[in-house]
Symmetry: C2
Subunit: 261 residues, 2 copies
C-alpha cells in the first residue's frame, strides 16, 4: 500500500507537532526532580519522563490512527507479532543514562512502517532542537534543511561509533572494527549515533538494539542510500533484538568483511 | 605573585574578546575548503585553521603581555624550559579529527600560569558558543553562568571518559576503569571531555595529553575542587606529556586504587 504525498505530509506534520510538545515537556521535566528507577541492572535506567513521553505519544498515535499497532520501550504498546498494517515504533527517551547523567546525547524517536515497508522516521535531538525526519517518498530533513547522501567513505577514512559495553567485553569483533577505522567513538545512545551517520559525521555505527532503537534510524538511513543490516549482512528483524550495522556502502562492506574474517 | 582582581578581570575580558574573534574566524573557515595535513600518522591531523588560530592567538598574547612565554601545539610558541614568569598555553583546535570529521566536540583552549600557579583558563566550545572560563581568584563560569562544584559521585555512579586508542590497546588499566564505572564514553578530544567533568556530566576523564591539552582544564578543575593528577597520583608536569586523570574526589580515589591494583 502506498500513501499519497498528501497523506505522507499530513502524517509528518502531525508527528512534528507532537514532537514539539514532547520536547517542551521533556525540557520542563529536566528542570524538576527526575524519578529514576533501575530496570534490569544499574546500567539500564528508566525515568518518569520515559514513561510520560511514551504514554503521551502512544495516546496521540492511537487517536490519530485507529488501525495503529505500537511497538514501544516502556510497556504501553502492543504485543506485536507481525509487521502487517500500520506499525508504529516509539522510543520515548533513547539514551536514558545520557539523559540522566549528561543531559545531552539522548533522543525521542518515532517510526511508521506499513506492511513492513519503512514509511517515515523521526529522531528528535531535544537539547539542540533539531528533528531529523523523512522517508523514501519525501527525502530526509534536519528541521527544514534537506540532507544529501553522505560521502561514501571507507572505514579507514572515518569515525565509527560502537557500543561501549560490547567493545569492552570483546564482542562482535568490535575491536577489529575500531582498530581498522580512522577513529572510534562511544556515544552511549542509538539515536544520537544514527544522526552522526545520517549527517555524514561518522561512517558507521554498530550496537545490539531493540526495534525501537533502530526503526526510525533505518527509515532515514535507507532513504539516504546508506546500508543497514545486521552484523552478518541480513535484513533486520523488526520484532526482536539485532546486532545492527548502519554505514556508508563502503564502510558497511569493510565491516562485514572484518566481521567474517 | 598575586594579581589584583582588577588585573584578573582585565586579562579575562581581553581573552574573551580574542576568543569571540577566533570563534567567528573558525566558523567562517568551516564553511570553506579545509587544508588538512597529516602530522605523525593518519590519525594526527592539522588544518589551516589550527595554524591560523595559533598564529592569531600567539600574536595577541605577545602584544598584550610583553613578558609572555607561550607553549602551543603547532610550532609558533616558545621552547619553554621552566614555569617561571607568565606562561601561556594555547591549543588552537583541540580535537582536530572531530573538527574535520564531526564538526562537533572540538575546542579552542588557552591558559595562563604565573610562576607555575594556575591563574586563568578558557575552553571555548565553538559550535555551542559557550566559553568555560575562570580561575582560583574568580570562580568558574560557563559564559555568564557560575558553575558550582560538581557532586562528589563515585566511579560506580557515573560516566567516565577515556582515550579510545589507549582503551583499545589495553593501556593504563583503562579496561578496569571502564568496567567499574556506571558507563564509559569516548569523545576523542580533551577540551570537550574536561567540560563534561567540570559541569558534572561525567565523574572522570583520563587520557595521555600534552600540556596544551590539559592546562586550561586543570585551572578550571582545581578551582571547582575536583582532583587532577597523573594516573599515579602525582602532580602534572606542565612541560611534557602526562597520563592525566581529572575526576571528582571520590572517583579519583576509585580510579587510583584500580590503577594500582
Amino acid at each position: 500500500m502506498t500513501l499519497s504525498q498528501f497523506e505522507i505530509q499530513d502524517i509528518n506534520q502531525t508527528v512534528l507537532l507532537w514532537l514539539d510538545e514532547v520536547r517542551k515537556r521533556t525540557l520542563i521535566a529536566m528542570q524538576q526532580h527526575l524519578d529514576i528507577s533501575i530496570k534490569h541492572d544499574a546500567r539500564d535506567l528508566v525515568t518518569n519522563v520515559d514513561r510520560d513521553n511514551e504514554q503521551f505519544l502512544n495516546a496521540k498515535i492511537r487517536s490519530y490512527d485507529s488501525e495503529a499497532s505500537i511497538v514501544s520501550e516502556e510497556g504501553f504498546g502492543d504485543h506485536q507479532k507481525n509487521m502487517q498494517g500500520n506499525v508504529w515504533f516509539v522510543d520515548p527517551i533513547d539514551g536514558t543514562m545520557n539523559f540522566v547523567k549528561e543531559q545531552a546525547d539522548f533522543a525521542v524517536m518515532i517510526a511508521l512502517y506499513i506492511d513492513n515497508e519503512p514509511v517515515l522516521g523521526w529522531i528528535l535531538d531535544v537539547v539542540n532542537n533539531v528533528v531529523y525526519h523523512g522517508g523514501p517518498q519525501v527525502g530526509v530533513f534536519a528541521n527544514q534543511l534537506r540532507l544529501e547522501q553522505p560521502n561514501n567513505d571507507a572505514l579507514s577514512d572515518g569515525i565509527v561509533l560502537l557500543s561501549g559495553a560490547r567493545l569492552l567485553y570483546g564482542m562482535f569483533g568490535y575491536d577489529k572494527i575500531a582498530k581498522a577505522a580512522l577513529g572510534y567513538r562511544v556515544i552511549g545512545a542509538a539515536g544520537p549515533s544514527f544522526l552522526r551517520v545520517i549527517s555524514g559525521r561518522a561512517v558507521g555505527y554498530s550496537s545490539k538494539m531493540m526495534p525501537w532503537d533502530f526503526a526510525a534510524g533505518q527509515v532515514l538511513a535507507k532513504t539516504l542510500g546508506l546500508s543497514i543490516s545486521d552484523i552478518d549482512g541480513r535484513p533486520l528483524d523488526m520484532l526482536s533484538s539485532n546486532i545492527v550495522l548502519v554505514a556508508t556502502n563502503r564502510a558497511h562492506r569493510d565491516i562485514l568483511m572484518l566481521h567474517q574474517s
